[in-house]
Symmetry: C2
Subunit: 199 residues, 2 copies
DNA sequence: CCTACCGATCGGTAGG
DNA sequence: CCTACCGATCGGTAGG
């Protein structure tokens, strides 16, 4: 190889991304300064700009890594053996587990999309659409009769993501009900909505 | 009376609140400056500070007027004649109609709560809890057997608000499905969740 | 001529 | 109700 990067280049970059996710989640993208991100990483602002060309590029990294993991997790769950109902439950649980394990990233994804420049926002939105399409396909597998009713399928999908995407605003991991139970409840409610729409 | 206010004091103040809601909704609280609010009202920053002591007080006014209207609308719908199922549907429709008619206010309420100082945030959260309690009471009316299971009732309530509170991120008023249909779907899905939890 | 980094400071704009 | 400002802090970049 011609030139080498620091041996721990990727490690440092990930650390920056993680601290930025924490601060953007807590204070908002505009409310968290690059100086705060640097301080959290116990380094200088200049070092941050060595790893990322701009504050918005850090935001993109936070969202992109998270949404890609969500897509992979949902795809894997939706491809498990079992009928459509079981695969929907598996996908719901997989997503909720990821939300819980990456709460800061999820908050940033939900709240700061408009802070991205058009081109980058489009890329993230594209991945989010892949996620919607996975659920849409499961709804269709559940009720092939809804083939012609795309608007209703999309509405059901959005109501489903409404239920789970904002769990972070109220869910208590130390409470009486755990995250996978909530995922199962949301999946069951979606199934009921699908039955009703089809019947 | 000792001193008079301008005859159109309330009208001007409401106009400021409305323009602020629009700008806070579009750019976020931190992303919208007081100068922008003043420009939108075709007046000066100083005039804004004549009507409101701080930028955060405008934010509080936006949230407070909206959440109080939501509580009134939901209470009225929940008190209509009919069984619990019908009253739940009426409450869902009343909320969704208000969300649609006050989209900017709803967006601000959803996204900017943490920008309020503690005391004011507590006041808004108190009103939101009234809203939760209205739905909780309807769930209980639907299934008295859930009396002892407050955690599950609260989870169902939060899943319900998850469905309708973030409609503004995806709902298309010119689309094939109208807002009250979405409200009915959400209400039906909540009922299914309640039945399942009780059975 | 590269990379990895530092302390200091740039031009503008924020709320008040 | 305006212009003229303030102390502070923003995202980003300079030289070395």
């Amino acid at each position: 190889m011609a030139r080498t990067q620091s041996a721990d280049y990727a490690v440092r970059r990930d650390a920056i991304t993680r601290e930025a996710a924490r601060l953007y989640a807590r204070h908002g993208f505009l409310g968290a300064s690059v100086a705060q991100v640097a301080a959290a990483c116990e380094t200088s602002k200049s070092l941050i700009y060595h790893y990322y060309p701009s504050k918005e590029d850090i935001l993109f990294a936070v969202m992109d890594t998270h949404v890609q993991r969500l897509v992979r997790a949902a795809r894997r769950a939706a491809a498990e053996p079992g009928d459509a109902r079981a695969r929907l439950g598996a996908a719901a649980r997989a997503l909720v587990v990821r939300y819980e394990g990456a709460g800061d990233y999820q908050r940033v994804l939900m709240n700061e999309l408009r802070r991205l420049p058009d081109e980058k926002r489009t890329e993230i939105v594209g991945h989010q659409r892949e996620l919607l399409d996975i659920v849409d396909a499961l709804i269709l597998a559940l009720k092939p009769g809804l083939e012609a009713d795309k608007p209703r399928r999309r509405t059901l999908t959005m109501l489903f993501f409404g239920m789970i995407n904002w769990m972070h605003t109220w869910f208590d991991p130390d409470g009486a009900i755990d995250a996978t139970d909530v995922a199962d409840m949301a999946a069951a409610m979606l199934v009921a909505g699908v039955e009703q729409a089809a019947g």
